[in-house]
Amino acid sequence: MAVLEVEDIHAHYGLFHALKGVSLEVASGDVLAIVGANGAGKSTLLRAICGALPVTGGKVAMNGSSIQNQPAYELNALGIALVPEGRRIFPSLSVEDNLVLGGYRGRKGHWTLQRVYELFPELVKRRHNAGLDLSGGEQQMVAIGRALMSNPELILMDEISLGLAPIVVEQIYRAMGDITAQGATVLLVEQDLSRAFTVAQHVCFLLEGRVSLRGVPSALGDQEMMTAYFGASV
């Protein structure tokens, strides 16, 4: 059954029509990768789903009930968490405070501070450091851990490998297995196609605010993907 249904949604940044009728469905426990060039609307899509950006048309439903244009802080309580682009760690909070704050709404579930530290053992010795002093990889771990602390049913991850050393990316993607094993559904925005394909059951290409291609990664052809990614053939 579909955890998330998105039906023909539109969104604007000021005058810029960023999403022009995107529809998709994600089944429970699935990992869906959303790929596309910069400016294609991937981050916008995630922000529209989690309530950080108002939807100007269409419908978003979680577990069958419609949720569009509810504020982000209410959707967090319903079980949607976003790992935002650029990580957005709170610089004046310590690592531990950042993580604890993720559980502000007190949703119960598998994830506790203890389990997040088990998932990312690197963070333990950094727990009292300010968010400002972390490396990019550590920040990304905090951002993911912070989202997990709300025990989300649906977790949206925006560009989690961006700007990180390959070895750190490797480590973060390994954690993905543990995350889905706990039953969370994942929507993943990723520029790195090959990386996305290793974890995703489904993939969805966005081009200039519309879905240009979708399917199971292994079934898609190279040329088809190039066109879906760049638009007119290169």
Partner: protein, 200 residues
């Protein structure tokens, strides 16, 4: 890019323009010596008309008195195809109009070097084609152009030299053909986001 225009200051190294060291100049002064920039998110003066926007740039960036600035502003509007909209408030322009306005304003500053930051982002194919023709025209009139863009097909038709960047490092430099077919580019493009492309 923002380093060159002076909105972000650099932490090491130096920037030279026309043989002059310009690291310490402020944004407004860099404009004065011939570097203009269009920003990724257009920043029109929303309470002014299109005409006033460009006129302001011609006065201050181009160092003209009002009468001369009017001539300059007129030709910039004409070149960017905004003449019909001269009396409209900039706030009322659609995205393509705003991008054109950014371009017109930058041109009115009489630049020797024009920096275009993702100017094609968010435009339709048709609009991009229009814009490409415009940029080519500007380049042919003797203005050096540095164009950062993710919409690669928009670029390839205009540029003479491509510099691809991956997270602050230069990964390829050459003619469009060389770069696009090189292994570094393909790998980087599917591994990452930023490609800077320029022409000289």
């Amino acid at each position: 890019m923002k380093l060159v225009a002076g909105t972000v200051s650099l932490s090491a190294g130096s920037i030279h323009f026309d043989g002059r060291k310009i690291d310490a100049l402020r944004s407004e002064d860099r404009c004065g010596i011939g570097i203009s920039r269009t920003s990724q998110v257009p920043q029109p003066f929303v309470g002014m008309t299109v005409w006033e926007n460009v006129l302001t740039a011609a006065c201050h960036g181009g160092h003209h008195d009002l009468a001369a600035a009017e001539e300059v502003a007129y030709s910039c509007l004409q070149r960017t195809g905004l003449l019909d909209r001269h009396g409209q408030l900039a706030d009322a322009l659609p995205l393509m109009g705003r991008k054109r306005l950014e371009l017109a304003r930058a041109l009115a500053c009489a630049p020797k070097l024009l920096l275009l930051d993702e100017i094609a982002g968010g435009l339709s194919d048709f609009e991009v084609k229009d814009l490409v023709a415009l940029v080519r025209d500007i380049n042919e009139s003797g203005v050096a152009v540095v164009w950062i863009e993710h919409i690669v097909h928009a670029l390839l038709s205009v540029v003479s030299r491509v510099v691809a960047m991956d997270l602050g490092n230069l990964i390829a430099d050459g003619t469009p053909d060389e770069v696009i077919n090189g292994p570094a580019f393909k790998q980087a493009y599917f591994g990452d986001k930023i490609a800077t492309v320029g022409m000289a």
